[in-house]
Symmetry: C2
Subunit: 197 residues, 2 copies
Amino acid sequence: MSQDIPVTGYAILGLLTFGDELTGYEIKQRADVTLRFYWVSPAMSQIYTELRRLSDRGLVVADVRRDGGREDGREVTTYAITDAGQEALRAWMDQTPAGFPVLKHPVLLRLLIGHVTETEQTRQMLHDYVAELDQALADLSAVRESLRGADEPGQPFRFPSLVADWGLDYFDAEKRHTRLALASLGETGPEGETATA
Amino acid sequence: MSQDIPVTGYAILGLLTFGDELTGYEIKQRADVTLRFYWVSPAMSQIYTELRRLSDRGLVVADVRRDGGREDGREVTTYAITDAGQEALRAWMDQTPAGFPVLKHPVLLRLLIGHVTETEQTRQMLHDYVAELDQALADLSAVRESLRGADEPGQPFRFPSLVADWGLDYFDAEKRHTRLALASLGETGPEGETATA
DNA sequence: ACGTGACTATTCCGATTAGGAACACTACTC
DNA sequence: GAGTAGTGTTCCTAATCGGAATAGTCACGT
């Protein structure tokens, strides 16, 4: 009866296990810097929908207060995980299979049908992808660095650090795959460019 | 005005560039063995929805005939890409950015919040994931093998082969990442197991 | 011939999810 | 004290999922 919570609901519950009470808005922000790399950045509407559901089931408590403590401020609602929420999350982890990752990879999709356009166009796409990967690597590296100092066994960011390292490796692997594909396409490089590291 | 076609629509269009006329059902089957690895396996309902849209825009032609050629058989509709469809696909490839991949990775999501359960539970999950990766590798290898003989430059399956090789590398990389995580979790392995290759 | 079950083919429907727009208040700047 | 950047929440529409429902075909044994 409590098993009809979507994965995104558990993801939000999980974000709340790292300590603080958060507003929906703050949850969205945290999701945007962490969850987005290996899950989704849920839409605002979805976060508030989930929070209502979780609240209805007693897995989180909503704390409504007035902004700045003043009587006339607007209402701000923060959410915290409850004991029941901890248990539900644990039960989900222990008793339901994780499931296989789903990848929506537009670069690979386009590479698949590379025969409908010029090879040069495909090469360009792959080069662009490498640039985006570099950006993602930079963003994720920043996250990884911010976890330093609390990433040892027993410390709060041990698991997030493992995940970040995994993600960094993943992006590196993607860069390799992209280079291999470029090589296979007889990469000559855009005009005058020399091979990059 | 023709730019409001979802990516899945172009994916279907792309499947139709490999030659034959296909029924919606056959498209679903092909998607299940190829697209699923790096895009989605669209629901049947979605495939038929897209085919209607593509047909309305003249990007595919529907060919209705009676099963087995007999007058009394059921109606079967096959679809083929049109010249306009080829052009639309090409325009999409050349003029719209591919976009960054989206990964829905339940294993990483759970690893992130590994602190809510026992480490042994997390290890188990990672072992299960390796087993699923092996299965995926086997499936994709079979696809890859089926492309042999037509995977040289200029041949029809050159690009699908590139994509399959990329996918195989990706799954290998995932296995490595999983092993690294296991090692970091102080992997002792399930009772009596020895390290695998 | 007659069921039975597996496969092919299509449609339909309810429930999620995506993705923003809209709204409203706060806080800082010029 | 007007403007604009940021915070916090709600609402709406379209897209998507996922499978049930429907239905004909085929191969099989009886």
